[in-house]
Symmetry: C2
Subunit: 338 residues, 2 copies
């Protein structure tokens, strides 16, 4: 058991849910410290009935801290994580900054919990769109070895934080009122629109968000031979990322087998009855911790072994806060059994 | 030149744009007749400055008609088209009912204009999501022979007619007002939501909308060997269908070559500059007749020759009204040159 837990970025879209998860999952700690940038310092937040004043994220803040759960922008993470580790804390980091560092395990507890053993003070939690995808891919990979993934995403505005949701709401209301919406968080007005760009160009016309689906997937699944063709699109939905996924496997796989594999896998709820109009949708997954899978069907275009499916998950929960708290739980178990 | 043109379903979402297109494209006719179901009979509509009273769609209505452009539900088309043809008219039909009939040409003028020569009184216009896709696929197929297509759609609510758009608007306003939205046109509330079902189950877990992307594509491109894996999703956008498309070709194809082929093809506008944040979006394509293509990139997952791209088009225009009027223009040319 850790004595002092620090949550960094507690007032953000993900940080708020981290605090909720500490309550709902009854995460054990003796003392909770909340750290944020100057803007939030002095604010009071109530967690598990205790009112806590937010302190400044600065060198020295981690001297008495054992474990950190951090949800901050990449540049903030790049700066504070080294001194947090230096000061003796173990950091579960949700930013993208450390994910591909070879010395940093990138963990989805349902997929590669064992990788946590190698950590050197930093454990990274993957990007939201990657996390839900690898949870769904893992049982198929284990049974039939995935060779290739083609994925098109339908990503919610909360992936860009609270500001993203506010912008969707105001942008939408403007359109309904016959006015011209503006944009600041997103490249263009998102109300009743789609934006086929998340992040900036990273590799051969693919965006940074798209390449996370390539690189992070390989690292988590521990298989650099998995080929991924990603398309990442922002859609006018507040919470819940959706993904249209096609997988090609080495061994043959049937729809029935895929459905059974999904159904038996941890962290997956199968909602799959087209005739009964049952399939995952953002509105049903908002506030849930699982990854939801449906529309499971044979790839009718392939020469080989292929399965197509539809996958939805709350991007603030399994895509971020829930996965980070699960990593912290894993750390506790390893401390407990050490 | 045809003497009498009839437009069937003139008060619907697509029918209204057919009438607009007759004006903008200065489609020649001596007399225009508007036909609709009982509900609309007697309404007056102004086209090219002439006020026309809507008449009842019933046997006998086509006795004096040469050419028909019809936008009606499938069941209405199934009933009236036979007697329209019997009464001597040639029908350009936008419903799904006749599309796969072997005696009915299914035409996208940029792709297979020559097929119109075989018509026996009925010419079908494809489904909205198919039309924009085949316009984009045609130049690639001609140059490099397409073997396989993986497509995920992001389809606007106007695909379900005016009622679809009204439902999106009311559903969205309800959510903004903190109330619970209802649904009638769609299976579930569509405001800030996605619905991964368009149509009903048709084949092995694929919906009717999805299978149109398989069957219609093969028929229009005249190649039954083209394999398609489709996923069709309704999104909270009023106008403009978007598609994330991956093609695999027989011959090698480079990004530069694909961009050139798209750029030289009729009916396509290339908007492709990720660094400059230029790509097709529904809000920019609303009210335009072209098919817009961007995010053109190499398939980084394939062993073979693959190109991924993003394609948007106004589903009421090229996806429906514009294509039908273009077919009518083709018919006129063939009459003129006969």
């Amino acid at each position: 058991m850790h004595d002092t837990l620090a949550v960094v970025g507690a007032t953000g879209a993900v940080g708020r849910i981290v605090l909720q998860q500490l309550e709902t999952r009854d995460f054990p700690y003796k003392r909770l410290k909340l750290l944020a940038s100057e803007r939030s310092v002095g604010q009071e937040v109530t967690v598990k009935g205790e009112t806590i004043k937010i302190e400044l994220l600065a060198p020295g803040a981690f001297k008495d801290v054992d474990l950190v759960i951090a949800s901050t922008p990449d540049e903030v993470s790049a700066e504070f994580v080294p001194y947090a580790v230096e000061e003796g804390a173990v950091v579960v980091d949700e930013s993208a900054f450390w994910r591909m560092d070879p010395s940093v395990p990138l963990i989805v507890p349902e997929v590669n919990p064992e990788a946590i053993a190698d950590h050197k003070g930093i454990i990274a939690s993957p990007n939201c769109s990657t996390t839900q995808m690898v949870v769904a891919l893992a049982p198929l990979h284990k049974a039939c070895k995935i060779k290739r993934v083609v994925v098109s995403t339908y990503q919610a505005t909360s992936g860009a934080g609270l500001a993203g949701n506010v912008e969707l709401m105001t942008s939408t209301q403007k359109v309904l009122d016959g006015e011209t919406p503006a944009s600041k968080t997103f490249q263009y007005p998102i109300g009743f629109n789609l934006i086929p760009q998340i992040g900036s160009e990273k590799f051969e016309g693919y965006t940074s968000e798209e390449m996370k689906l390539v690189y992070e997937t390989r690292k988590i699944m521990g298989d650099d031979n998995i080929q991924v063709c990603p398309t990442a699109v922002r859609v006018p939905v507040t919470i819940g990322h959706s993904e249209s996924i096609l997988v090609e496997t080495e061994q043959p796989i049937s729809v029935e087998q895929a459905r059974e594999l999904f159904g038996a896998a941890p962290g997956i709820t199968v909602v799959d009855d087209l005739q009964g109009q049952r399939y995952p949708m953002p509105r049903d997954c908002d506030g849930k911790d699982d990854v939801f899978v449906g529309r499971i069907r044979r790839d009718i275009s392939g020469q080989g072994n292929g399965i197509a499916f539809w996958c939805v998950s709350d991007n603030l929960r399994k895509g971020a806060a829930t996965n980070a708290v699960q990593i912290a739980e894993l750390l506790q178990q390893s401390v407990a059994t050490a």
